[in-house]
C-alpha cells in the first residue's frame, strides 16, 4: 500500500528561516540597480514567474560590484543579498563553481554544508529539507551566471 504523504519533519521551519536568512531579508545588501552596468540579466522562477534582475560591474575578468532587484520570497532575497557580497572579486569560472557548490548544499550534501567557500550561504542549508524551495535559492545565481555569459545588455 502506498504511504500517505507526510509533512516535512519537525524543525524544518527553524532550519529554513534561520536568523541569518531573515536578517538578509530584512536588510538586503546591494538591492537596486547599478548605473551603466557591464552586464545584466533577469532570471524568472518557473514555479511563480517572479524574477530577480542582476546588474554587474567588472574590473577586467573580475566582478567589482553586483546589485539585484525584484520583490521575491525570503529565500531568494537572502540568497541574492549574500551573493552580492560573495561575488565581489570573483571570475565567471569561480561563480560557476560556487553555484555548483550551492546546488550541492541545497541537495543536502554534508561536505558542502561544511565548506567555508560558501560563507554565509551555508545558512541556506535548511532548504534541503524543503526541496520545493530550491529554485528560489538558486534564482539569483542563475541571473548572475546569465549576466556574465552575455555581453553587456544595452538598456534603451
Amino acid at each position: 500500500m502506498p504511504r500517505p504523504a507526510e509533512p516535512p519533519e519537525s524543525g524544518a521551519l527553524e532550519a529554513l528561516y534561520q536568523e541569518q536568512i531573515l536578517a538578509h531579508y530584512r536588510r538586503p545588501h546591494n538591492k537596486g540597480s547599478l548605473d551603466e552596468p557591464d552586464a545584466s540579466a533577469t532570471a524568472a522562477n518557473p514555479l511563480c514567474g517572479e524574477a530577480i534582475a542582476v546588474t554587474v560591474r567588472r574590473d577586467g575578468e573580475r566582478i567589482s560590484e553586483v546589485a539585484f532587484a525584484g520583490q521575491t520570497c525570503a529565500i531568494s532575497q537572502a540568497s541574492a543579498s549574500m551573493m552580492t557580497d560573495l561575488a565581489r572579486g570573483k571570475t565567471l569560472p569561480e561563480i560557476v563553481a560556487l553555484t555548483g557548490r550551492l546546488a550541492e548544499l541545497l541537495r543536502g550534501d554534508r561536505a558542502a554544508a561544511a565548506d567555508p567557500a560558501l560563507g554565509d550561504l551555508r545558512a541556506l542549508g535548511g532548504v534541503a529539507r524543503i526541496p520545493a524551495r530550491i529554485p528560489c535559492a538558486v534564482l539569483p545565481w542563475r541571473a548572475l551566471t546569465d549576466a556574465l555569459l552575455q555581453e553587456v545588455t544595452d538598456v534603451a
Binding site: 521551519l13 530584512r26 520583490q71 525570503a74 529565500i75 520545493a132
Partner: protein, 410 residues
C-alpha cells in the same frame, strides 16, 4: 455532516487541510470507482471495434457525454465537445474559429482578470490576424467596468472572451450584462468557466452565449478531460481544430469531408475513461446539488475572510463576502506568499502562492504575488482554523520584519 470521508486522499491524510481546490479538486471515491469499473468491464476502442466490448465502450462514452450535457444545461449534446481541459477548449476556438473569422481591423475583447489561458490565445490570435486586442479594465473594487466595456465593444468586435469567475479574486462576473453588450454588436461571447462550473450552474441554454469551456479536474473529475459546450451553429461555422481518425467522413485523395458534430472536433482515439470519470464527478455534485456546493464554499470563504481580517497586516483581495465563489486571495505584510505557503505546508495546510497565471490582473492589483486559499465541499471550519493559525505562525517567525527595506545599491 462532513463530506471529507467521500475523498480517499483526505481520509488517508487526516492532518491535511486541502485549500487548493481552485487549482485542482480532490477526487471523490465515486470517480475513482467509476474509472476502475470502466477499465475493468468496458474498456476497448470505441466506435471502431465490431465486437461487443467495443460497443460497451462506445455506450459508456455516449452516456458520459449525455450526463455532462445535462450537468451543463445543454439540451443538444452534439454541442458538447470533449477536450483536454479549458485551455484546449479555448485554443480550439481561438485557432479554428479565430483564424477563419477574425481579420485585419477586427477587434477582440477580453478583461483584466482573465487567466492566461483565456488571454494569451486571443492576444496571439489578434497579433497573427492583424486585429486589435482590447482589455476591459476593472473598477477600483475589482469588478469589470461595464461602462468602459461598452466603449471598447464596437461593431468591429468579433468576440468578447470572459472568465465566469476570477481565479484570483473569486468574483462572479456580470455575465448577463456582458452577454447583452456583446450581442448588441453581433460579437461572439466565449466564457472561460474553469472556476465558474465548480460553483455556479453552467445553464448553457439559458445564457445566450456562444461557448462555455470548463475543466474536469476542477470538478473532481480526472485530469486530462475538459469540455467545450457551444452552439451548434457556432461549431458548424468553423473548420476542425485537429484532423485525423474519428473526425472525418470521407477521405479522398484530394479532399476530405468532416464527420458530424461532435466527432468533427474529436480527432484521435477519445479519452473515454476520463469522460466516464467526469460524468461520475458531475453526478456526485448534482447529487449534493450545485446550490449547496456553492453555498458551502461561499460560507467557508466568508468565515476565512472574517478571521483573516482580524490578523494585523493581512490584506484580502476581491469582492464582498456574498459574491465570493470559494476563493480568498490575500497577502501578509512582510511575509512573501511563498514563504507563507511553506510555513502553512508544515502544518498540512495546502494553499497556492504566486501570480495564479493572471499576470495582467496582478499588475492592476500592484502585487507580485498573493496567497490563495480555496474551498470545496470537503472542507469545514477546522480548515479555516488551521489556515488562520498558520498565518499567525508565519507572522511570528518573521516577527518584526515589516516590509523589507528597498535600499538602493549606491
Amino acid at each position: 455532516m462532513s463530506r471529507r470521508t467521500d475523498f480517499p486522499l483526505l481520509v488517508r491524510n487526516p492532518g491535511m487541510h486541502y485549500l487548493d481546490s481552485a487549482a485542482t479538486a480532490q477526487k471523490p471515491r465515486v470517480v475513482l470507482d467509476a474509472l476502475r469499473t470502466f477499465y475493468e468491464t468496458a474498456y476497448a476502442n470505441p466506435h471502431r471495434g465490431s465486437y461487443a466490448l467495443s460497443m460497451r465502450a462506445t455506450d459508456a462514452y455516449h452516456a458520459a457525454r449525455e450526463r455532462i450535457a445535462r450537468f451543463a444545461g445543454a439540451v443538444d449534446s452534439t454541442g458538447v465537445i470533449f477536450t483536454r481541459g479549458t485551455t484546449e477548449a479555448i485554443n480550439l476556438l481561438a485557432t479554428a474559429w479565430g483564424r477563419a473569422a477574425v481579420g485585419p481591423g477586427d477587434e477582440i475583447v477580453v478583461t483584466r482578470l482573465e487567466h492566461h489561458s483565456n488571454f494569451v490565445p486571443w492576444q496571439q490570435l489578434a497579433l497573427a490576424q492583424g486585429a486589435a486586442f482590447r482589455i476591459a479594465e476593472l473598477t477600483p473594487d475589482g469588478d469589470i467596468d461595464l461602462d468602459r466595456l461598452r466603449r471598447i465593444v464596437t461593431p468591429r468586435t468579433k468576440v468578447v472572451a470572459v472568465a465566469h469567475v476570477s481565479n484570483v479574486l473569486g468574483a462572479e462576473i456580470p455575465l448577463q450584462e456582458i452577454t447583452a453588450i456583446a450581442r448588441a454588436v453581433g460579437a461572439r461571447i466565449v466564457v472561460d468557466g474553469a472556476q465558474g462550473a465548480p460553483h455556479i450552474p453552467v445553464a448553457f441554454d439559458e445564457r445566450g452565449i456562444d461557448a462555455y469551456a470548463f475543466s474536469g479536474h476542477k470538478l473532481g473529475g480526472p485530469m486530462g478531460i475538459g469540455v467545450l459546450v457551444a452552439r451548434r451553429e457556432f461549431l458548424e461555422s468553423m473548420p476542425p481544430y485537429q484532423m485525423g481518425g474519428g473526425q472525418i467522413e470521407f477521405v479522398n485523395d484530394d479532399r476530405t469531408t468532416w464527420a458530424p458534430l461532435p466527432n468533427k472536433f474529436e480527432a484521435g482515439t477519445p479519452n473515454v475513461g476520463d469522460a466516464v470519470g467526469l460524468a461520475a464527478a458531475v453526478e456526485y455534485l448534482d447529487g449534493i446539488g450545485m446550490a449547496e456546493v456553492a453555498r458551502h464554499a461561499r460560507d467557508l470563504s466568508a468565515i476565512a475572510v472574517r478571521e483573516l481580517r482580524l490578523v494585523e497586516g493581512v490584506r484580502v483581495f476581491g469582492p464582498p463576502i456574498t459574491a465570493r465563489c470559494g476563493v480568498v486571495s490575500f497577502t501578509l505584510d512582510g511575509v512573501h506568499p511563498h514563504d507563507l505557503a511553506t510555513i502553512l505546508d508544515q502544518d498540512g495546510v495546502a494553499i497556492r502562492a504566486g501570480h495564479h497565471c493572471a499576470q495582467p490582473l496582478m499588475r492592476a492589483l500592484q502585487v507580485p504575488a498573493t496567497a490563495r486559499a480555496s474551498f470545496a465541499i470537503h472542507n469545514d471550519a477546522s480548515d479555516v482554523t488551521a489556515l488562520v493559525a498558520g498565518v499567525r505562525k508565519a507572522q511570528a517567525i518573521f516577527g518584526g520584519v515589516g516590509t523589507p527595506a528597498h535600499a538602493a545599491a549606491r
